[in-house]
């Protein structure tokens, strides 16, 4: 996916200097060319206004649903200060990635708005700057995991199309971690490249150089020897059972 900053900006004129401009609909921005208020000429920067809106139709059941998950258990604590967005590593790269706004939408149960951000919702790098600086210990970094859960549950088709690679890579990780108990980095890399249709790159100069180097110094063979933990089968079964139970509860009522 190409970073947004390289793309041309969709909103060139209207309310361009508004921070988090993407959160406001075009028709809700009112611009006057020349504006005089109480005899004071405020033409220039001070003639852009956002028409106030009313958020209604809250779906509180949705809020409760998130609160019951492990990752989103602290959603009730958020008081919308925006420290998470201000410290976010990803926001400067993807302007539409706005943790504060995501948490707000989740609190309101505003699925219609959330749906607009499916393409960037999973871009969190998990650096935990937001959780470190959050004054209410909301743990926004893990809230983004809850967001991913929500989106996957309510918009499976969109996830399938817009986040195909993310889903597939996550599946490779999970299969390997739960199935084998250990992570084979070489296999992870090659299958991820394969899934994103870049198998050819593996034969390119850079990749080939790294592979040859690791074959030469013996590291490539240590990957083959990684193996499984002894008795992993019982743990695997227990985890799979737990996840099965979790899924049935989630589809019914939601919960840990």
């Amino acid at each position: 996916m190409a970073l947004e900053k390289h793309e041309s900006r969709p909103v060139a004129e209207k309310g361009e200097h508004i921070i988090a401009r993407h959160l406001i609909e075009d028709e809700n921005i009112k611009e006057e060319k020349n504006l005089v208020i109480d005899g004071v000429d405020v033409s220039g920067r001070w003639n852009t206004f956002i028409i106030s809106r009313v958020d209604s139709e809250f779906d509180r059941s949705f809020f409760e649903e998130i609160k019951k998950t492990v990752a989103g258990s602290r959603i009730n604590r958020c008081w919308q200060c925006g420290m998470c967005t201000a410290s976010c590593t990803v926001t400067p790269l993807y302007r539409r990635f706005n943790p504060r706004a995501f948490i707000y939408m989740m609190q309101l149960g505003n699925l219609k708005e959330l749906k607009k951000y499916i393409d960037v919702a999973w871009r969190c790098v998990g650096c935990y700057k937001c959780s470190q600086r959050c004054p209410k210990q909301v743990n926004p970094a893990e809230m983004m995991e809850a967001l991913a859960l929500v989106i996957k549950k309510y918009f499976p088709e969109e996830v399938e199309t817009k986040l195909k690679l993310d889903e597939e890579v996550k599946k490779i990780y999970e299969d390997m971690i739960i199935g084998h108990g250990r992570l084979d980095l070489a296999k992870l890399h090659t299958s991820a490249m394969q899934k994103s249709g870049r198998t050819k790159e593996l034969l390119g100069k850079i990749e080939r150089g790294a592979i040859l180097k690791m074959a030469k110094d013996g590291r490539a063979f240590s990957i083959l020897k990684l193996g499984k933990p002894h008795n992993w089968g019982s743990s695997r079964k227990a985890i799979e059972n737990y996840l099965h139970k979790l899924n049935t509860i989630e589809n019914g009522e939601a919960g840990v």
């Binding site: 999973w122 991820a192 002894h230 737990y242």
Partner: protein
């Protein structure tokens, strides 16, 4: 397996350190031994979950906590030392969460019971220790100074902590650790490097993220972040960047040729692990510290400087 002796510590290697990042694994062991602590690997370890399991409730906590159980059961150690920051985060996250939340603890114990591998319940009375914080707290800077035989005079190092070593402090720096590093401006690696005789540079990206988590799905973010970090360090005059996390190495070192291809020569700088530099200063050879394993060729600059 025998229980640990006094100068031994239970050690969790993790998947990356046993395979492609063996340089970090081996040099950590060399350095710890020289400083008087032998790291003993726990048998039958399993993957910590590397952050990909977080949406899976208690299963994400079972993964690391099974290793804590192993350490207690097989080696008789409550605490577990690890060198990978991602593992460290996963372990401390799980321990902090089950300590605070009885529901989550019983959910994890439910999985333990079903797996039937251990006869006892999990009790969160141990701690996860990162090798940097562990050596600093247990042995201290003086012990490092004492062991230096070949000071790294004239080497300018940019210490790179990455994100999960110090963040979030509610997980990583709990009250059981004698001294806590600062979450926003950590100092432990600086102090170690200065004790080795090297010079540290300030470049502003010490705790920036490398984007390693999404490096497969979202290469561009990772490349952009890494290029910022490397070029800032280079501008500040650093000869090498010192790391304490294999995931950062994946993003900064292994991907460096691709980053250079995209962002130019400004993003080219040798990457080493902190423990490799420590091993070098402690008198081990460059071959023993396995500098040749790094893709970004730190050997060149080390030879130039005459180490």
């Amino acid at each position: 397996m025998d229980k640990l002796k006094e100068n031994q510590a239970a050690y969790y290697p993790g998947c990356a350190l046993l395979t492609i990042d063996r340089a970090y694994n081996n040099s950590s062991k060399l350095v710890s031994k020289k400083m008087g602590i032998e790291l003993v690997e726990i048998p039958d370890y399993n993957c910590c979950g590397i952050g990909e399991m977080k949406s899976k409730g208690a299963a994400s906590m079972y993964m690391p906590l099974r290793n804590m159980m192993l350490a207690k059961n097989r080696l008789g150690s409550k605490n577990l030392v690890m060198a990978c920051s991602v593992c460290y985060h996963e372990f401390s996250r799980s321990i902090a969460r089950v300590k605070e939340n009885q529901n989550e603890l019983s959910a994890v114990n439910e999985i333990f019971k079903e797996a039937g591998e251990f006869n006892e319940e999990f009790i969160p009375d141990g701690e996860a220790r990162h090798i940097l914080e562990f050596l600093y707290n247990e042995k201290g800077v003086e012990e490092v100074k004492k062991n230096v035989v070949k000071p790294l005079k004239g080497l300018k190092v940019a210490p790179y902590y990455g994100c999960l070593y110090s963040r979030p402090s509610m997980y990583t720096f709990t009250d059981k650790k004698p001294k806590m590093d600062n979450s926003e401006r950590p100092r432990f690696m600086h102090e170690f490097l200065e004790a080795l005789g090297a010079e540290t540079v300030f470049y502003g990206n010490e705790v920036q993220c490398c984007g390693g988590r999404n490096v497969v799905q979202d290469e561009e973010t990772s490349f952009t972040l890494c290029s910022q970090t490397i070029s800032k360090a280079k501008k500040a005059g650093a000869d090498v960047i010192a790391l304490i996390c294999p995931k950062c190495a994946g993003a900064l070192d292994v991907n460096q040729p691709k980053i250079v291809e995209k962002f130019g020569k400004d993003s080219e700088l040798p990457i080493v692990y902190l423990t490799q530099l420590m091993a070098l200063a402690f008198g081990f050879s460059k071959k023993e510290a396995e500098f040749s394993d790094m893709i970004s060729e730190p050997l060149k600059v080390l030879n130039e400087k005459g180490f």
